[in-house]
């Protein structure tokens, strides 16, 4: 088929754009390490558990290494990979920003064996009363606190040693909402517990989950 120069130019421009789009979809989807280049991830209980499993597996094939050495090595490789990845992603940044073509698909990549549990209490006449506990008593503000937004936010803010000011902002936000519902309450307390679930075998033997406090914030209820 004969095409005019203008038609040919349009055709090549479309082909070039589609090639760019395919690259913008495929390249950023290349996986990134779960803990990224953050040493704290490897030092966490979850990180240490993962390292131990890999150390034992490597030991079985004759590679002797400690958790610290394995963490150092993994961090070195992760940093190099992430630096290369960042450079590759740079040309696609405006496309991602303005056309919404984002490719982050780390869905349940490292399953959390110790998830969080949110509890909210109010203090009335010097006594703390539970008004919300995820999975148990969800009568107060359920639609908000059990919404996917709330849960995704709290799985972030529940991290120990991080997001302290965010967690306080969230507690203040709940205190404002509690002001009308509990006119006699003086303070509101938000707690994140780490749930230590039993393994399948332990559960079959009748074990139940235990809880360890990860974060707590108490704020005054505004009047």
């Amino acid at each position: 088929m004969d095409r005019s120069p203008a038609q040919l130019a349009r055709r090549y421009a479309l082909a070039a754009f589609l090639a760019f789009h395919v690259a913008a979809v495929v390249v950023p989807s290349l996986p990134a390490p779960v803990f990224g280049d953050d040493r704290r991830g490897y030092e966490s209980k979850e990180g240490q558990r993962e390292l131990t499993r890999w150390r034992l597996a490597l030991g079985r094939v004759g590679v002797t290494v400690t958790n610290d050495e394995l963490a150092e090595h993994t961090l070195r490789v992760s940093r190099a990979w992430l630096a290369a990845r960042r450079n590759c992603l740079r040309p696609f940044k405006p496309y991602k920003e303005y056309a919404g073509v984002r490719q982050s698909w780390r869905m349940f990549s490292g399953v959390n064996e110790e998830p969080d549990r949110l509890s909210v209490e109010v203090k009335v006449d010097g006594e703390w009363t539970l008004i919300f506990r995820a999975g148990e008593d969800e009568s107060w503000n359920r639609s908000l606190l059990r919404h996917e937004f709330g849960r995704s936010m709290l799985s972030r803010y529940g991290e120990e040693r991080r997001y302290g000011s965010r967690f306080k902002q969230f507690a203040k936000f709940l205190a404002v909402r509690a002001a009308d519902d509990f006119p006699d309450a003086e303070r509101l307390r938000v707690t994140i517990d780490r749930v230590e679930n039993p393994s399948p075998a332990e559960r079959r033997a009748g074990a139940v989950a235990t809880f360890r406090r990860a974060k707590r914030k108490s704020v005054a209820i505004p009047r």
Partner: protein, 311 residues
Amino acid sequence: MRRLTALIDRQLDPREGPETLAVVRITTAMALLLTVGGVVARGADVYWRTPEHGGYRPDLKIPWLFDLLGLEPSAAIPGTIAVALAAGVFVLVGAGGRASAFVALQSYMALKTVNNHVGGSYEHLLTNALWLLVLAPATATWSVDCWFRLRRWASDTPVPVWCRRLFLLQLAVVYGSTGLSKVGTNWTPLGGFNALYWTLADTNWIRFEVPGLGWLSPLLMVATAVTWLFETGWILVPLWLLLRDPARTGTWARRARRLDPRPFLTAFGLALHLGIWVLMDVATFSWVVLAYYPSLWRPRELLGALARLRR
């Protein structure tokens, strides 16, 4: 140069009926309406506001569109929600062509950008689909646009095949990437293939406590391995598409034409996402992913399936 031109011709020239694109347009619009409508219905839009407007986070990010229009995020949220919902309805009924998809995309992007501490991967999948609807002539049939153009609801105006292939590529990338990202030992024999057990023990994401979870663990171990294989296996779908290109010859091309993984992918994917929807509360994740599934099928195959269903 001649080979490059031939490659461009092979990718850009093929055309097909407009029905598959129309179905993807409708499923994407439904996913958008469910997502934004769900946020509003549960009052969760407060997560997109500052404390002065009933939210918790004072330092919301200003989306580029708000910046351009000089809008303050919290104050602009109600209007942006209304625009996103209206544009979603327009996309659903196929009115306004690519412009409606563009408005739906930009308004939803603005909403999900203001607070990057809330939300999930399904939101990216939704914006990706809306952008593909901007690129594709998805209102060629079964749309208000078609009615205005031809005074009838349906048309057989052909559309480029590459539009549908972009949806399919996106779906393959989502599954392939999420499969390759599952490097946590629980997805492997090192962690006893217990990923699904721990997922269903996490009260943050499940709808209800699964009875007899400990006893179900052998079944969940098999399901963990099969899920990982299913997701990672999607990497082969673009390869299969390339091999079955009519221009290709040779043993592998012949094998690719004989083998059709799509019935299995569709059946397994439907079962997987319906299972996720029943057991887990992960917002509209399942519906957004399933919105892409019609792109696996050519229009005549979809129409054939619809005709068989009617009989």
